[in-house]
Subunit: 279 residues, 2 copies
DNA sequence: GGGTATTGATACTCTGCGGGTATGGATTCG
DNA sequence: CGAATCCATACCCGCAGAGTATCAATACCC
């Protein structure tokens, strides 16, 4: 089975529309129809049930969509990892402001290791980190569980913390010592691309979010460590019944690099300093 | 990156010889040389260092070999799983005579489950079981640890047992209550394809092995459960310091099928009967 | 050291496949 | 009932990939 055909299939399966899929692939619709038909003939199974007005996946199609996407990411990962093989450095990816102030310490600790190499920090968008790992763009990622999808990844926990409310200093709740989720009932909580709209504003990155909070348009529940790098006009208030999340360092399950192991080791070592220091 | 190109690369990387690789691929050598060169140009890295007499892998090439093989198996797995998606049955693969007499019980127990479906038992060659799972040919496998490679697989342990010596009834050690490995020092132990020759005969399957034992040409160390289905002219003797191995039921890490879960459950349930019954 | 074998690269040709345009047939909707 | 939407079919074309013939470089052997 050709990977190009599989890419075509994935596009159609996700769009459920040959025309849109063809546009997305940058080709015309007729060759796409033919390619899919040829794929079905080669596999010996129907992948779509087509009426002249709609396209739906068959059971075989659903399986191929899931497995095929996995195979395609494995393919791009193979390519990227081979391309990066010459460079001995590591790429660490993370969202901005979620490192719990650990990043600097991790890198400092790592620099002491004999296996240390240059570390490039790649700041990615929301939810992109795990994808970057799986596609071979990055060697390690700082993620937050349970928000991130760690399928196919290995990880070590670094830091667990509770969400706090991030508010303008002028907010009616800003001076409270502690609040509960119900205190935020009449606030317009934001939502991220991918989650479902809930009446609040759509935010694409944390800078935008903080801006909206400053303007009083929304408030947010974020991990407690945001307070380390907060703009002057914002403040945080503990929320007694808020969710907790865990900062982890993750890497591809099958990675075997010496320097990556050292980086993980450094991250774990640094993180365990925190509880020790507070005791 | 095209999967065809990647297959070409893997062939050359494994043969380290363009001519042989071309033969194996069923094409001529010149197009293969060109395809590899084109792949190198597309990736922007050298994959081989060529002298006019020999070919070796570069670092990037080694990475691409490892990752590329993984991607290609993911690809064939996607195809096979999609093709088999229509059939609700399960395929269970195993080597003959390693089931510790559990197979029948597992299938009987599974039949009681509401999620039960037809189970096809696929008897594969030595070391093929894990490959069949990864390539999507089979849904579950009975394997022995630590002999099998379970990378990318999940498994449940079923039965741990010690190896025993399998001997002709007429063998000088056949009537001993127990022996040690050193008692076998002057025997010609067999070896399997893939392991290194040790002076004994090469065996390809267990029927051949048992035949050779009958002829007095070799003796073997096998899991204790072989005794359930042993020819009349052979017998087993415990070996006090022999290795132990564990029978496990394994499946692809990312499988999510309801019936497969039930099969695993049935296998575990049946296996735990054994210790209970002996107590 | 020269002849030979081996191995990868190059030159050239050609076929087939993947892609484009034009159009048809079916279904939904106003 | 006409218009719009959407997938399939017919037909054509260009190029990528495969083949043959040959060259160039190295190792090997007497």
């Amino acid at each position: 089975m050709d990977s190009r055909e599989l890419g075509y299939f994935v596009a159609v399966a996700e769009e459920l529309n040959f025309g849109r899929a063809a546009t997305r692939l940058g080709i015309a619709q007729p060759p796409l129809s033919r390619a899919i038909k040829q794929l079905e003939r080669r596999l010996g199974v129907a992948l779509f049930t087509r009426t002249s007005r709609s396209v739906t996946l068959t059971v075989a199609g659903e399986v191929l969509l899931q497995e095929g996407k996995r195979a395609l990411t494995a393919l791009t990962a193979a390519r990227r990892r081979a391309q990066r093989a010459g460079n001995p450095g590591l790429v660490l990816t993370m969202k901005p402001n979620i490192d719990g102030d650990l990043l600097e310490k991790i890198l400092a600790q790592f620099a002491n290791d004999p296996a240390a190499v240059e570390v490039e920090v790649l700041i990615g968008g929301i939810g992109e980190q795990a994808v970057l790992l799986r596609e071979g763009e990055a060697d390690a990622a700082l993620l937050r569980l349970p928000h991130a999808d760690v399928d196919g990844l290995a990880y070590e926990e670094l830091l667990t913390e509770q969400d706090v409310a991030v508010l303008p200093r002028t907010h009616r709740l800003a001076d409270r010592a502690s609040i509960t989720l119900s205190d935020l009932d009449d606030e317009q909580l934001p939502y991220w691309p991918g989650s479902r709209p809930n009446g609040g504003p759509l935010v694409r990155d944390s800078a935008q979010l903080l801006q909206l909070i400053s303007l009083g348009r929304t408030v947010a529940l974020l991990p407690a460590s945001v307070r380390y790098h907060l703009r002057d006009d914002l403040t945080t208030v503990p929320v007694s019944d808020a969710d907790t999340s865990t900062l982890v360092i993750a890497w591809p399950q099958d990675a075997r690099s010496r320097s990556l192991a050292a980086l993980v080791e450094a991250a774990v070592a640094v993180s365990s300093i925190r509880p020790a220091r507070t005791s």
